[in-house]
Amino acid sequence: MARLRTIPTDQIHPRDVADKSVKGSLERAIRMALEVESGAVRRNTQTFNLGRYQATADIADYEELKDRARAIKEAAIESLSELLATLEASVTSRGGHYYLARDAADACYYIKRICLERRARLVVKAKSMTTEEIGLNGVLEQASIEVVETDLAEFILQVSGEQPSHIVAPAIHRSRERISQLFKAAFETDHPLDSGEDLTRFARDQLREKFLTADIGISGANVIAADTGTLVLVESEGNIRMVTQAPPVHIAVAGVEKVVSRREDLAPFIELLGPSGTGQPLTSYTSVITPPLDFPSFSFGGSPARDRQFHLVLIDNGRMTMREDPVLREALYCIRCSACLNVCANFQTVGGHAFGGETYSGGIGGSWEAGTGTLQKARFTELCTGCSRCVPQCPVRIDIPWLNTVLKSRLDRAGGGVSLQKRFFGNFYHFARWGSRVTPFAGSVLRLSPSRWLLEKMAGVDRRPDLPESAVRPLTRQYRQWRKIQAPSVSHAEQETPHRKALLFADVYTNYTLPQRGMATIKVLECLGVQVELSRVMAEGRATLSQGMIVKAGRRAENTAAYLESRIDQGRDIVVVEPSVLALFRHDYRHLLGNPALFEKLKANSYDPIEYLLKIIGEDELELKQIFNVEETAGGRIFFHGHCQQKTIDATAPTVTLLRQLGFEIDTSSAECCGMAGSFGYKREYHELSMSVGEDLFNQVRQTEIPGGDRTILASGISCCEQIRAGISRRVLHPMELLAEVML
């Protein structure tokens, strides 16, 4: 191999901030990532993200396939002990060796023993997060065994000394320029090291010789079938095929959760892994092998061919305990496809050195770091805003933000209680109500720098962004006044039994900060003959839940649900303006309500305003031109940013559909999330990250305005609206406000 030099380190080395249980490491990691790694991570993850949308759209039975994958994993984890016994029998009956390691030390000890028994001097390794988890390389190197990572990304990390920044593409944080710099500093060689082609050729030449002379190959496994002992190994480069075929000894290391029951169960995972991860229908090589392979190893360079030896080392290291934990058990279903990393706006911006721990990263990473390490190592789950974009992407249907909410709440309990910052944001309800009583006084007080300084010091509220200001007149008051004026003309709707009755849920955000969205909705619906009642204002649990305050959120959910049920029973449909609250009713309440039937009832009867509008127009066979001034709307230019949680519950499409039908020329945002995500961007330690996430969205608005000039900007979420205003100082409307304007 070309000579290795010691490498100069950047200011903050990712390794130094890998363990997030160390105080201050998360904040330092974010700073480092924003300064150094953000560009490469963003480009790479967004490419994967787009690829996944395209590849999964090509699978006609994608949803059923996910159901099958989920069912197979549930059944496997349920009967894991029996499966392990079956697997042991399959492996040993073929002459392989099986070992179940209790923990990291046990696994490393076993593997080191094999290496020493075989007098191994050189071990070639394929990518395996599990061997990262157990720290295998260090143990072998201490025993004077040369360990060579052969996956090109892992090869880079071996040179840089960094931990993986992504579970599938571990060097995703390095641009070609930074790889080139690294290699030039590290290797003395005449080989050109500039283009991707140069770097790849160089690494390949280095590694080819290693494959041919290695004593042992160590791989991971993506899935393992218990009945036959078959391994699935997914890759693009060919190094896994080399590692598993070229050396005489193959050791496969995997977590116990990788085992499924039967060989035919491998199929859905093979079909889902590529599309969900990098967006390829299948990656270049998917090996389906049942080792030991039944032909002798090769004899390169004179050494005689030998019979093959195979060891399957399965690792518990906390997994059996995760299995007993109703929440962490979910993580055992994870097939490490990386969809939840690539879709995540925060991950796209900082990558896994900040949004990750020593081995695992991204939304699901916290559960893995907690399950195989300590709860404190999962502190980076603070970066999960609960935007929920990962939920529909997960091939085994894990509710990743829910896992993170539970981790946050456990972390708070372990840390001696909920911080003042979280209580501040969790109790937005009280804050907003107070603000509305003393408005305009509160607004102006909060703009004074001493109060912002105090708020920042005491509650960690960043002093830079404008806080949502309380409206002068909350929705409840505006509604009452409007009703008084409207009374004579609307009375006909109330005298005859109205055709449709709805309850507009006065969520705290709409009510106290942007009531005009609520009023616009009420006016449009009433105009279509819907008799609208405004709910009372109540804290429904969104803010508390997003701060990980589960018990309190649960109480608020039960209260709200009981109230809403009484209205549904009166024949009212529930209309919710703020999408994060609608998503709460249609998604999160499943975890918070004791009664699943009540959850289903709420879910079936609650609507996004435009979704509801389209339903009415369809069912009542109304014509758009009878309701809206279509001459005015035709050709109007719009930029629409759907809210993250609204997309997840499939409530965004109706807006686009209706606006198109009205003849608007509409461009939609492809940003997964605006970055504000409720209160995330107001927090002192995350404000910069939040604005950096927002840049994608701001740029898109600018891009779509280059030809043709300004567009009307629409956003359905209040925090998206605040974020866009902060980023590009423009007026942002809720789609309902626009519709109210163009009503006949």
């Binding site: 090109l152 990304a153 480069e237 095929r241 270049s284 090589y285 389906v288 390169f300």
Partner: protein, 188 residues
């Protein structure tokens, strides 16, 4: 759709195009196959300068010997290669027991016939496949009754296009495996 149908072949050919591999259909006869392989060896596949000119021929796992035997006499072809030849060969020729229409993949057995190594070490790989063994999707390889249950029994690899990486900042072909894959489909 039953395996090998016209529409499956068409879907398969289109999908191969997206993987970066090349494909041709020839009629299922010893002469036609030999002719096709000769044509590919003599210029159809670019010769990377550092490799010697040899083409390694794996033993077929499934194709009958009347189809395979004529290939042994082709110029450049090394039949029954010693292991050392794997290091430097230019082309590897194997049969494939299945093709997957949706993904453009071929399934090559990893057995004592050495298809696993011959399809991996050289810079180019030629895979020969019978049209009737094209199935619709990857999962079909694991379906009882399909492909005489070969997919349920043996060790094999789904090969989808050439070996690639994007780890070095841009998509590069030919990392540890071949940088070129050519698929020959034998039609009845």
């Amino acid at each position: 759709m039953h395996s090998g149908s016209e529409s499956l072949i068409r879907e398969f050919v289109a999908a191969i195009g997206l993987t970066g591999a090349t494909v041709e259909l020839v009629s299922r006869s010893p002469e036609a196959l030999k002719h096709a392989v000769r044509r590919v060896l003599s210029g159809g596949i670019e010769v990377p300068s550092e490799s010697s000119g040899s083409a390694l021929l794996a033993e077929p796992d499934d194709l009958p010997s009347e189809l395979w035997d004529p290939l042994r006499n082709l110029e450049q072809v090394v039949d029954n290669p010693p292991d050392n030849q794997l290091r430097s060969a230019r082309v590897g020729i194997t049969d494939a027991f299945a093709g997957v229409a949706r993904t453009g993949s071929v399934c090559v057995a990893v057995t004592a016939k050495l298809g696993g190594a011959v399809s991996l070490f050289p810079r180019s790989h030629i895979a020969v496949l019978e049209a009737r063994n094209i199935v619709s999707r990857p999962g079909d390889v694991f379906t009882a009754g399909q492909l005489e249950n070969k997919g349920m029994k043996r060790s094999f690899v789904f090969i989808t296009g050439p070996s690639v990486t994007a780890d070095m900042g841009e998509l590069v072909r030919g990392v540890h495996g071949p940088d070129h894959l050519h698929i020959i489909i034998l039609e009845e």
